[in-house]
Amino acid sequence: MARMKFLLDAERCIECNACVTACKNEHEVPWGINRRRVVTINDGKPGERSISMACMHCTDAPCAAVCPVSCFYTTADAVVLHDKDLCIGCGYCFYACPFGAPQYPRLGNFGSRGKMDKCTFCAGGPQADNTQAEYIQYGSNRLAEGKLPLCAEMCSTKALLAGDGEIIASIYRERVQKRGYGTGAWGWRTAYRETVAI
């Protein structure tokens, strides 16, 4: 099986937020909650770069390591998913996550945090694939339909790449070699303990 990864080519990102919008619409993410976001660093200065960031589906995921009810699991495609029926909304995954991916869209009892919600790499959750139950809890399951995450599919400049880590790394490598420069794969060192060798 493929090892699924996200790769953002910051040289191409134009901060159009199409990835954010596509994600929100595809999964009916509630108001005020973004599974994916675009952060601009060095804004207005030389070297300004925009980076689209969501759950990176880490190798040795910190969220899974600290979860007290072990609600996280890794699929055969190395996508990190979680079971919302087991999640108790303790927020430990949010403390541990280096990318700020876990969100808490709903309130629990007595004003506590509700179930955690995060990017699923468009791979749904533990419920049966493409059922209404899965859609309500986790959003659509495009991977089960043989499609890739919609954020990357919608990216007009193809700055955001999603798919088999080997393939997207080779696409990025080719781009860097052709144009002669690149700012690297954001978050790869933190998430996958490796960088794209050029």
């Binding site: 005020g32 108790i88 541990a96 700020g100 700012t183």
Partner: protein, 166 residues
């Protein structure tokens, strides 16, 4: 004239340097890599600007979680384990070294009431609820998630009382 010559010289220099830079740049550590390593070393985070109202989301990468994970999964587990098992060991050591310590002169035979019937009934009702609730809720959780099974965390999954047999 002088300025023009200087300008030409500068243009030549830049022109000569540019191809060399283009060749070496991809091999040098990239901006992303460098910023991640620096943030990790300083314990700081990579901050930016964001167009959504949630200002906290402007933090791109923050390494503090790594330390928290280490503390939670390693330090706390050891400290907690030692605190519980260590106390047991201390008590066992005390008992073994001092033996039983009886009341001087033996019990007087008089008793006083500490809790009345209502208080005792309340105590035992709560105690039995603590046992019944997890035992009762467990099959429901199992039925909903055969893959999840029981596990050590199952006792802590409190269900709102009205929903147990809903």
């Amino acid at each position: 004239m002088k300025l023009r010559i200087l300008g030409l010289l500068a243009a030549l220099l830049i022109g000569a340097a540019a191809p060399a830079m283009a060749q070496t740049a991809p091999r040098a550590p990239s901006m992303a890599e460098e910023m991640e390593v620096q943030a990790l070393l300083r314990g700081g985070s990579i901050q930016g600007r964001i167009s959504i109202p949630d200002e906290k989301a402007a933090t791109l990468i923050q390494p503090e979680g790594r330390e928290w994970r280490e503390f939670h999964n390693v330090t706390l587990a050891w400290v907690g384990g030692i605190a519980v098992l260590g106390m047991l060991a201390v008590l066992a050591f005390f008992r073994l070294s001092k033996g039983r310590i009886p009341i001087e002169g033996g019990a007087a035979g008089r008793t006083i009431q500490r809790f009345n019937v209502l208080e005792r009934a309340n105590h035992w009702m709560v105690a039995s609820c603590f046992i019944i609730l997890p035992v009762w809720a467990e099959p429901d959780l199992r039925a909903a998630h055969p893959a999840a099974g029981g596990g050590p965390g199952s006792l802590h999954r409190h269900q709102p009382m009205g929903q147990i047999r809903a």
